[in-house]
Symmetry: C2
Subunit: 498 residues, 2 copies
């Protein structure tokens, strides 16, 4: 096989992998947005078949021949084809370590677990979900042992979402955050709360849908390639740069919830929408890791979206769509949107206490994977951690351990990406400011400047570089969480007039 | 291979075929209901890959071995497994006659054609769609020649949707219909129109959505297994008996449009929802042909839904949801819902003129397949046929040749099923009345009786029998279109007091 042939056969293989992933992705999107309850049975069957076929495709004779061909000509390959070869070797190693029956059974388990989690959350009854979570944890541990027997199992989980992330790095990172956030929260407590009561002003859902359209226009999300679905728990799914779906959930008495979820998911979407064209339908299309993905979404949500300039920018639309809000100034709204106060629900948490929610989940996941807690003890542990980290009592499973969908989808090791992404975002802001006046661009409704900068530094590269490498290129130096803690301190000092 | 092994391997093969069909079906449903415009590119790629893989699965070594095994033990097989073996042999013969590249290219062509048709319809510009229609016609002719060189090409097209239907049967059937419908329409013209002006009373879309829910309750459509989507051109898609999707389109000034489309699609859905459990995920699950399918949908829409008793049954909800309608009696509404008047749009046509719309399409399809008309001449031919059969002038392509989606999806030969289905329905009504008082059951909101009868005679059999065989069993004798023409004459004589 020549190098050229190897690449052609690689293109064909990756296109087939894309097709399986796309089909399974659409089945999941349909499930989350509209599918009737009974669809669980046929979807389980189809997911089982497709994941088996997809597994066989990625581990079969042709995949092996392609990998051999790539390795034989490795030195002749372009930078991007080298990366594709590396990713393929990694994928092959991981998949071949897991027996096909177990791989398929896990895919079926996750389909069931997602449905049961939803029922359990509605009933606020962890007991319903417990056996599924137990099996997910066992499977994750088993897969970690099979794929990377040399690696700590939780490090393996982290690495799935952020290549190279480890417990050790998390401990040091979270330690640095706690050391600055906890005293800052104490100071805020001492000066007393800002007024947030008017945030529950009734804002009709139809008007919120209009606001969504306006926000997408401000973020420059192309409607021909990006739609909005309505779901219980918002997420983004990018099938390709041509078709990315964001989702939201409207609450009449909490318009900021949907507003910031749209901006957050919009950040994810922009990243997926701007991979370089030459990566289409290859393993290099789309975001490289969850940490980098969350850096884009949380940058948009918090650093841009919760800035005074952004609040000022959307203010005329807010008071047009909900005239009662006109009784409050931009300044009041900005402060209210940044009120820092320990609360129960991660997705509704403010920017400052948010990392504490992540630390709770990080501790939970470590305990799950390291077998330090029985599944029956997990709710108790969750509640104790909320008391310790956030000082609040959890009244029930629905607003406690069952609040997030991640674990039901097998996403153990995902959560730390959110905090890491926030920190990446703060360092990106620092760097972006060296190039142009970010606040002024927001004020002038010129987010196109922000988008161009991010496209140039991050988005266009797709998965070409490893996450840490990509970020270091963008930062022009190593990652340093001090940019994040400095940013938080500066911002909340201003919000609370400390 | 033992008979038992052959059946086990057949089950596995059919489950995989189900999975591909399900995945492609969800991609199409997503396309029709929510997908952004740009999704066309990745969907085209994925459809191409999946249809190629699915083709290979159904024609490959394993499929051949399974078929050999089945044929070797044919005499030992149960009635249903014999039918599965026959269907498999037919499928294998058809697929193997078509080269894989052509099969895949056609699937990609149809993906593009559907999108272009939508654009062309919006722009009311047939020229945009013409090259796609031309390629579809050429491909259909070519496939007909490859698969059944012994058969008339248009007979082959008809047979795809109604096994055993031929041009000869169509000519005789349509001849019988024209002979009775045309004079009946003349008589109706002579007595003058019924009042239909109040049917455009504004009926808010949100209230129509409530009406849909009520209709689904009356039809006993289980919400856990059946949802309603909103689309341009309503259709039903059944993924399995656990998950069937109906769709509708709401017009504020024409509430009957959505009302009857929901009842129509509900009839399709009920059929798909009631295959016997043992057929799940096999080739016997779901309706056997489009003719039988349309017999269920058009039975529900017209024979049940446009009966005086049904109009009386929904009347209280109609005037609750749209109080202005209370100025009109049940009798007036029933007459208006049955007003017979030549019109432009098939899906909006009344029960009496409807078959004339089908005859136009039948003549068009014959001319397309038999090469009697150039694609550039088709709009002219369409317009001339509307003048001849319905006596009306077609103002533009949008309400002319571009009105239906069928041809853009490759559905040449489908339309005659609608008329055949209507005739099947009238003969079913005749038979049903021997068993119970159908009008009284409708009056008492006991459609469950109708459903049980249809389930017992039709639905539960899935695809176990050939369509003509199934219908003859249900009728207790041969098909006879006189039941249909008698039904039409009786009904319209009453509506118009002839």
């Amino acid at each position: 096989m020549t190098a050229k042939e190897a690449i052609e056969r690689l293109n064909d293989l990756e296109l087939k992998e894309f097709a399986y992933g796309h089909a399974m992705g659409i089945l999941s999107y349909d499930d989350e947005t509209v599918a009737p309850k009974g669809s669980r049975i046929p979807r389980g069957k189809t997911m089982g078949v497709l994941s088996e076929l997809s597994y066989k495709l990625s581990t079969g004779d042709e995949a092996r021949a392609v990998l051999d061909g790539l390795m034989e000509h490795y030195d002749e390959l372009s930078e991007e084809d080298k990366r594709r070869a590396d990713l393929r070797e990694k994928k092959m190693r991981e998949l071949r370590a897991i027996p096909v029956e177990e791989y398929v059974a896990y895919s079926e388990l996750l389909n069931d677990a997602s449905n049961v989690w939803r029922e359990a959350k509605n009933a606020s009854d962890y007991k319903l979900f417990e056996p599924y979570l137990g099996k997910i944890i066992e499977t994750q541990k088993r897969f970690a042992g099979l794929v990377r027997p040399d690696m700590d199992p939780y490090d393996y989980c982290l690495d799935q979402y952020e290549e190279g992330l480890t417990k050790e790095k998390c401990e040091s990172f979270f330690g640095a955050l706690r050391a600055r956030i906890v005293p800052l929260l104490e100071k805020i407590k001492a000066v007393g709360p800002v007024d947030t009561s008017f945030l529950s002003t009734p804002f009709p859902v139809s008007a919120q849908r209009e606001l969504t359209a306006k926000l997408m226009e401000i973020q420059r999300l192309p409607r021909d390639n990006c739609i909005v679905g309505e779901v219980e728990h918002p997420f983004t799914t990018g099938f390709s740069k041509h078709d990315v779906r964001i989702t939201t959930h409207y609450f009449e008495d909490n318009f900021l919830s949907s507003m910031y979820s749209v901006i957050h998911e919009g950040g994810h979407a922009l990243y997926d929408l701007h991979s370089d064209d030459r990566f289409c339908f290859t393993s290099l299309e789309g975001g490289v890791s969850m940490g980098v993905h969350e850096s884009q979404s949380r940058f948009y949500e918090n650093i841009i979206g919760r800035s005074r300039e952004f609040v000022g920018l959307v203010y005329p639309d807010l008071i047009r769509l909900c005239p009662k809000l006109a009784a409050h100034s931009v300044e009041e709204l900005w402060r209210a949107a940044n009120a820092a106060c320990p609360s129960l629900i991660r997705t509704e948490a403010d920017e400052l206490t948010y990392p504490l929610h992540i630390m709770v989940r990080y501790e939970m996941e470590k305990a799950m994977i390291e077998g330090e807690a029985k599944t029956s003890e997990l709710p108790e542990m969750w509640n104790a951690l909320y008391k310790e980290y956030l000082g609040i009592d959890v009244p029930d499973d629905k607003s406690g351990i069952l609040q997030d969908s991640h674990w039901s989808g097998g996403g153990i090791g995902y959560f730390p990406s959110y905090a890491l992404g926030s920190a990446y975002g703060a360092q990106l802001l620092h760097k972006m400011r060296e190039d142009f006046d970010v606040a002024e661009a927001v004020r002038q409704n010129e987010l196109v400047k922000v988008n161009h900068w991010l496209e140039d530094k991050i988005w266009k590269y797709g998965s070409l570089y490893k996450p840490a490498e990509l970020m270091e290129k963008a930062f022009g130096g190593p990652f340093d969480p001090t940019f994040y803690t400095d940013y938080l301190e500066r911002k909340f000092t201003e919000v609370y007039g400390l």
